[in-house]
């Protein structure tokens, strides 16, 4: 399924051997800059540079990346339309009084705001995809351990991570069996069958999980997973390069703070 795919890509991407700290520094730094940016130029700039990084250095297929990006951006466009209609200020371009408490209007400022929010989502999404496409979850677990996140939390996270895959496996098995026995032939039948699927799925994965923990207990599981992580040393050059890039973005943020897509003063 979809997220299995993302994990697979992350395990085999071109930046697999770069230290996860370096990648997180770039990804999280960009998210921080994007959400604090007062203008639309920096988020757009970050979106484009990170996309080039993901495609060029990470060697993610272009078509796949575009498909991945199109889903959240579709959602983003729908939400931006609402913001444009609801917020206001400046010259009115179009206005519609729906009921006495709600009026929808498109103004210069709301268009600017809408475009700005869209760029911020675009930039944020690219930064998020940068992290999820280049850094496998297993690497993130060892980073979390190093950052003194409570062990019980990481433990539960790893368990849920494993359970999600058990779930998917069982879901596919049960679903196929149901389809073969004509479980989804009519609408009524389908509702009944999907209820059964949910219940059976929960119990099946619960049992599988119990077995998993019993098996681990036999191997002296003490409530802490032993993590074997490949230690990749931090490369000073790439860290410096990222710092320069982030610094450049901050400067750009200050310079382009007042830029809007439609000039306000007309």
């Amino acid at each position: 399924m979809y997220f299995e795919l993302l994990e697979n890509i992350a395990q085999n991407n071109g930046m697999r051997d770069i230290s996860p700290y370096t990648k997180l520094l770039l990804g999280l730094g960009c998210i921080l800059i994007v959400i604090t940016s007062p203008g639309y130029i920096v988020p757009l700039f970050i979106a484009i540079t990170l996309s080039v990084c993901i495609l060029g250095i990470g060697k993610i297929p272009v078509r796949l990346y575009l498909t991945l990006l199109s889903i959240p951006l579709g959602f983003a466009i729908a939400s931006v339309i609402v913001i444009v209609l609801v917020t206001g200020g400046g010259m009115t371009v179009f206005s519609l009084q729906v009921t006495n408490w709600l009026s929808l209007s498109v103004t210069v400022e709301s268009l600017n705001e809408g475009f700005f929010v869209f760029c911020r989502i675009f930039g944020g999404m690219c930064a998020l995809f940068f992290i999820s496409l280049t850094t496998p979850m297993t690497d993130l677990f060892s980073v979390m351990k190093r950052c003194y996140i409570p062990m019980v939390l990481i433990d539960l996270a790893m368990l849920i991570y494993r359970f999600i895959f058990i779930f998917m496996e069982k879901a596919e098995l049960i679903y196929r069996a149901q389809v073969m026995r004509l479980g989804y032939s009519t609408y009524r039948e389908a509702i009944h069958t999907s209820g059964d699927l949910a219940g059976a799925l929960f119990l099946a994965s619960w049992n599988a999980g119990e077995d998993l923990i019993k098996a681990m207990d036999c191997r002296c599981y003490s409530g802490q997973f032993a993590l074997l992580s490949k230690e990749t040393p931090l490369q000073i050059r790439s860290v410096l390069l990222i710092c320069i890039f982030l610094g450049f973005c901050c400067t750009l943020e200050v310079i382009t703070a007042d830029y809007t897509i439609i000039p306000v003063s007309i």
Partner: protein
């Protein structure tokens, strides 16, 4: 209901994180306590977490900077209480934002607050209120799940309205708009979710009643009498 990465301005991201943190810290302490008490709970914790992940990944687009989907938090609220549920929600939402680009890291605080704290707290309140009445156990579970789901969306609408108040009508105006749009898709979804989770609960009563008794979810007599009906 997941708000997207970059959708909220930085100040709101920070405010929601600050509100969510105490709940998470208390949740982690609570989690440590029950796991020290009995390790048997671990598989159930994992299964409810994965269940929340799957249910809340089934999203329908909704035009409010967000989307509609079941939340699935009701069951773990009833079994483990709202605080541990908030920790599970933290993990699930982190995975969703990294695996599915569903939600985001900067808005994680806001998403935890709606799906992991406000929804479960409301569901838990209903559950505690109905727990010791003569009402059927299944109706209690159903009501708690539906309420947890609806309050999650109520909170998300508040979060969105605070960040983007309407020109006319202000915060209240945009709240009505956001919640109105959510309600169209969410009320039927919440009911479906309630039915599914009640069914799952019924399976648990049928096959593993001991764990419910040891967690003190329902009085023993109630579970025994429900079992004798099968």
């Amino acid at each position: 209901m997941h708000i997207m990465e970059g959708f909220l301005p930085a100040t709101w991201c920070i405010i929601w994180w600050i509100i969510a943190l105490p709940f998470l810290i208390y949740g982690i302490i609570e989690l440590k306590r029950i796991l020290n008490q009995n390790r048997e709970y671990l598989p159930l914790l994992g299964a409810t977490g994965a269940f929340i992940f799957i249910l809340s990944a089934l999203k329908l687009p909704s035009v409010t900077g967000s989307c509609s989907h079941p939340t699935g938090t009701g069951l773990s609220t009833i079994c483990f209480g709202p605080f541990i549920t908030s920790v599970i929600a933290l993990i699930v939402l982190l995975f969703q934002s990294l695996f599915l680009a569903h939600g985001g890291l900067s808005v994680l605080g806001a998403n935890i607050l709606s799906m992991g704290i406000v929804g479960p707290l409301a569901g838990y309140a209903i559950y505690r209120f109905l727990k010791n009445t003569a009402l059927s156990m299944y109706i209690t579970v159903f009501a708690a799940c539906v309420v947890a789901d609806l309050f999650t969306y109520l909170m998300t609408s508040i979060e969105l309205a605070l960040a983007y108040p309407a020109e006319i009508g202000g915060i209240a105006g945009s709240f009505t708009l956001f919640f109105g749009i959510f309600a169209i898709t969410q009320v039927p979804l919440a009911i479906v979710e309630g039915v599914v989770l009640t069914l799952v609960f019924k399976y648990i009563v049928q096959l593993k009643p001991d764990i419910l008794v040891s967690l003190g979810v329902f009085p023993k007599e109630k579970i025994e009498s429900a079992r004798s009906e099968f």
